[in-house]
Each structure stands twice: as structure tokens, then as C-alpha cells.
């Protein structure tokens, strides 16, 4: 099984006092969105939105999140991406 590090995520949400959280999962983990959303809502009281679209990598982030009042976004399956301009 893949470790979704739920405890860490819950802690970050509480620290941030986020009221609305967007969760973004790669295709292989999308079926676990229900489990993650239920846990976050139950443990933090934050409202959860599930990103419907693609999640190909840390380079593939949704835009316009401020307009729907997202306070915190959590993406699973990837880590920090160092965008290089020279190497393209």
C-alpha cells in the first residue's frame, strides 16, 4: 500500500486553519479520494474539494484556486519540482 501520510496532512490543515482544501490525486490513487476527503472533513472540519482533472506531476497544478476560495492544496504522488528553463 502507498502511505498517504494522512496525519501530516491533517496537521498542516489544522496549522493553516484552512477552511477549504483541494485534494489532487494521480489516477492510481483517485479511487482513494473518498477515504481522504472523509477523513479530512471529519478530523479538521474543513470543506474538501476533489480535483476532477489530470494530475500528471508537480508541474501540473490547477490554476485559479483563489477564485473558489481554496486555502490549501494537497497533491499526492509527487514532490517538489525544480522547473528549469535552460534545459527545455
Amino acid at each position: 500500500m502507498f502511505d498517504l501520510e494522512i496525519a501530516t496532512v491533517l496537521q498542516r490543515i489544522k496549522e493553516k486553519q484552512a477552511k477549504r482544501v483541494l485534494i489532487q490525486l494521480p489516477d492510481g490513487l483517485k479511487p482513494r479520494a473518498q477515504e481522504v476527503a472523509d477523513l479530512i472533513e471529519k478530523e479538521t472540519g474543513a470543506e474538501v474539494m476533489i480535483w476532477f482533472g489530470s494530475c500528471f506531476g508537480a508541474c501540473d497544478l490547477p490554476i485559479g484556486l483563489n477564485s473558489v476560495g481554496i486555502d490549501l492544496m494537497v497533491q499526492w504522488g509527487h514532490n517538489i519540482y525544480h522547473k528549469t528553463v535552460k534545459e527545455w
Binding site: M1, F2, D3, L4, E5, T8, V9, R12, K16, L22, G28, L29, G53, S54, F56, G57, A58, C59, D60, L61, I63, L65, N66, I70, D71, L72, M73, V74, Q75, W76, G77, H78, N79, I80, Y81, H82, K83, T84, V85, E87, W88
Partner: protein
């Protein structure tokens, strides 16, 4: 900007190479491997130990866009995507992970050279798989055909995404200047998703240039009716064709 948290989603079980894989390396007289993994599968202590016990040297490097050593991304599909060219200096290439998207990058990164197979160990299914040049042949042939069409094209569409991680606006503007000096008419397009079915709306564009994810110009092209190349090749398509052996 909304604050973001990344969760690696690490594979919890210990990763242990199968006996069939180690036997394959022995049969092929492999003395060194270039080791790569996707971020979920970086707990590789046992794998390194197994390889060392088999008297196989383990070469590891950091890809320029990744956060961690040994980790690979799908966009690491060029030979200079890595700090050290361990693919060239190793007898074999070993990838730990599930799926084919990442290991195919390791084949694509060898374009223009004699392509070494990539040996995959999938910790989820606990199975070994080998992918070879044959698995990217269709892509390479389409890429060559598209490069030739690009060289002959008078009208080019350069596609820029608004997704921040894949947005290369400055590069697109620079390319426009380069291509205009070569006598091509360039139109810039802006979007958030690269749906190639929408190319049909712009029949005046003879060839498209992608500035977003590099894999659009290597993998997705096989499904496209209209020719597309990556920005990297657009600066000097002739040279790329020569390197690919025309």
C-alpha cells in the same frame, strides 16, 4: 498563490528484487547498472544491497528537475536531463516502479544512440519487465516525420500553457523570433489543456510546436493527425534529424 503540500505517497513495503531479475543480470554479464525510481519507490536500501552482493556496481544521479537523487520524472526524457550521464556509463538501466511512463523516459533519453533496454522491477506486482527500442520505435518514426514537415512548413503554431509548472512563455517568444528570421510565419496560442483534437479548428497551421510537457512531443504525437514537435527541436530541427540518423 494558494499554499501547496506535496505528499510522496511512499510504497510502504520493503522493495526486494526478484530472483529472475538478478538471474537476468547474471546471464547478461551486467557489471554496472544505472538505478532510477519514481518518488514512491525510493526506499532502495535492500535493492542496493542485492546488487552489490551480485557484484554489480550501482550508479545513481540526480535528474535536474527532481528534488531527490535517483528519482526520475516523466520529463527526464533527454540525455542531458541528468547531472551525470549514468545511462551511457552503465551496462544496464534499472527502473523501480509501476507503470511505463517513467521507464519509457529512460529509453527516450537515449535517442540518437544505441538504445540500451530498460529493466523494470515493479514492487507492486513483484514482476520484472524489459522494454526496448521496439517500444518507442513508433514514436521515434513519427518524431522524424514531424521534424521533416516542420522544416518544410511556412506557418507554425506555438502552443503555450498557462499552467505555471509547464509555462515557458519567454522561450516561446524567443523561438518566434528565431523562426521568423528563418522566414516562417508564427502564431502564438495560449491554453490550459493540450487537446490535440482542437488543432482541427486552425487548419492554417501546418506544424505545431509544443512548449509545455516534453512528453507531448514524444508520446502523444502517435495519436495526432497533425504534426507537432517540441520546442527543443524547433531551434535546429535539421541537427536533431541528423542525430537521429534521419
Amino acid at each position: 498563490m494558494v499554499e501547496m503540500v506535496f505528499v510522496d505517497a511512499t510504497w510502504e513495503q520493503e522493495i526486494v528484487l526478484g530472483k529472475d531479475l538478478l538471474r537476468y543480470f547474471e546471464k547478461e554479464k551486467v557489471k554496472s547498472v544505472g538505478l532510477f525510481a519514481s518518488v514512491q519507490f525510493l526506499k532502495l536500501e535492500k535493492v542496493r544491497e542485492q546488487l552489490q552482493q551480485s557484484e554489480i556496481r550501482v550508479h545513481e544521479t540526480k535528474a535536474k528537475r527532481t528534488h531527490l537523487k535517483t528519482q526520475i520524472l516523466g520529463c527526464d526524457a533527454y540525455h542531458d536531463s541528468f547531472e551525470e550521464d549514468i545511462i551511457a556509463t552503465s551496462d544496464a538501466v534499472l527502473y523501480i516502479g509501476d507503470g511505463l511512463f517513467h521507464p519509457k523516459a529512460l529509453l527516450l533519453a537515449q535517442t540518437g544512440r544505441e538504445i540500451k533496454p530498460v529493466v523494470i522491477w515493479d514492487p507492486v506486482s513483484e514482476k520484472m519487465k524489459i522494454i526496448t527500442q521496439a517500444d518507442i520505435e513508433k514514436q521515434l518514426n513519427k518524431k522524424k516525420a514531424n521534424l521533416k514537415k516542420f522544416l518544410a512548413a511556412d506557418v507554425v503554431g506555438v502552443m503555450v500553457t498557462v499552467k505555471p509548472g509547464q509555462q515557458y512563455m519567454k522561450n516561446a517568444l524567443f523561438l518566434k523570433q528565431v523562426l521568423e528570421k528563418k522566414g516562417k510565419k508564427v502564431y502564438l496560442f495560449l491554453g490550459d489543456t493540450f487537446d490535440y483534437r482542437l488543432f482541427e479548428n486552425y487548419p492554417f497551421v501546418q506544424v505545431w510546436v509544443n512548449t509545455a510537457c516534453p512528453r507531448i512531443g514524444t508520446d502523444d504525437i502517435t495519436e495526432m493527425q497533425r504534426p507537432l514537435i517540441n520546442i527543443r527541436e524547433a531551434y535546429d530541427a535539421e541537427k536533431t534529424l541528423e542525430e537521429m540518423g534521419k
